[in-house]
Amino acid sequence: MTDPAAPGRYHRLMRTLCLAAALVAVLSAGGVLSHMVSAHHSFVVFFDDAKSITVSGSVTAFKFTNPHAIIELAVKRVDGRSEPWRAETNAVTLLRRRGWTKESLKVGDAITIDGWPSRDGSRDMRVRRVVKADGTVLGAPTNQRVD
């Protein structure tokens, strides 16, 4: 990657952000809200790509759809109680090319999901890899880092 004037622009950006913070306070007080017109789920905005998490449980639902396939599972806690987790994967149009199908997971399947935790601390995660009870890895990742 090339950023011809990175250092100077970084300092200008930080100064701008400080000014923007003050501006945000003023705009918020004035009730000025902007109509956001974009809608797409950014991995790095919602999930912490600097951390990893692994959960094991049984599938309670599998939604094979766009923009993201969703795996819901019941995870047994240490105290024996079960708590619901939700794991988000890539778009179905991409998963299909990695060997996933809508039959890849069924309710009751015992699986282990390795991935990235949600930034807000909720029981949400982004899938890196799904391993079934028999050791089978679901799908075949390509050059993409997430599934």
């Binding site: 950023d3 945000v24 017109v37 790095v44 905005v45 919602f46 939604k63 766009n66 991409l94």
Partner: protein, 251 residues
């Protein structure tokens, strides 16, 4: 002149005229057309490509290469070197990601400024006067008019694919797009206005197996500087699948 000689004369003249017409005889209509690359076909998931220093150097002044082509994405507050104007920055800093996940918003497609660089395949159908690009991402279809027509008036409808006109510059397809409706630039709160101007250059790699694109955009309502991206797609033999976004995907 006898009838026989007249007939012979007509035959000779006619032959000469026909021969000149068939051989071209200097007519511009008969001039050979340059051979253009064929961009038609299925192109696999978009991905980042190694930056060519020579191409980066040729970018207009005040242009930053945004490093989010393909799978990578920018975190909150990081706009990849783009310098938002104060009002645009303030709006971006107020952005709450969870608002974009509501049922009425989650399936709104980004404009082609962001959509073209995503890790999704596309299909191109190339004709002399029209090139069609079908993006798998959000089932978007682009029409690129190659017949020399201008863009419509400024108050013509805007859309997420905009209005595109194209021309060949040697072996490079140059596409100029306006009339894009407001949408995300970096998928983290920074939106472009409906006055953004987009220029894309497409060309094939030396072996013809990779389609390369240089994207440049400017938006004087939103940005102090200009942005660029470099994206590649590898030739394949698959089909475009329906995207058919499900707004209830999270239940």
């Amino acid at each position: 002149m006898s009838d026989a000689r007249m007939a012979a004369l007509v035959f000779v003249v006619g032959t000469v005229v026909a021969g000149a017409a068939l051989s071209g005889g200097g007519s511009p209509v008969a001039a050979q057309q340059p051979v253009r690359p064929n961009l038609s076909g299925f192109w696999g998931a978009g991905h980042a490509v190694p930056l060519d220093p020579a191409l980066v150097k040729k970018l207009p002044a005040n242009t930053v290469v945004v490093p989010d082509a393909g799978a990578p994405e920018l975190p909150l507050g990081n706009f990849g070197g783009l310098q938002p104007k104060p009002s645009a920055l303030a709006t971006a800093m107020r952005w709450k990601p969870e608002d974009d996940m509501k049922v009425d918003r989650v399936c709104l497609p980004p404009s082609i400024v962001y959509s073209m660089q995503g890790p999704f395949p596309m299909e191109i159908h190339q004709g002399a006067d029209l090139i069609v690009m079908r993006l798998e991402y959000y089932d978007m279809v682009r029409l690129i008019f190659m017949d020399g027509r201008p863009h419509p008036p400024a108050n013509a409808p805007h859309s997420k694919v905009g209005h595109s006109v194209g021309r060949w510059d040697g072996q490079t397809l140059v596409v100029d797009t306006t009339h894009l409706s407001r949408s995300t630039l970096t998928n983290n709160g920074l939106d472009h206005s409906d006055n953004l101007h987009l220029i894309e250059r497409f060309w094939l790699s030396a072996d013809g197996q990779t389609l390369l694109m240089q994207q440049e955009f400017e938006d004087q309502d939103v940005l102090e500087n200009r942005g660029a991206r470099f994206v590649g797609w590898d030739r394949g033999t698959d089909f475009i699948h329906p995207y058919e976004c499900d707004p209830t995907f999270k239940g």
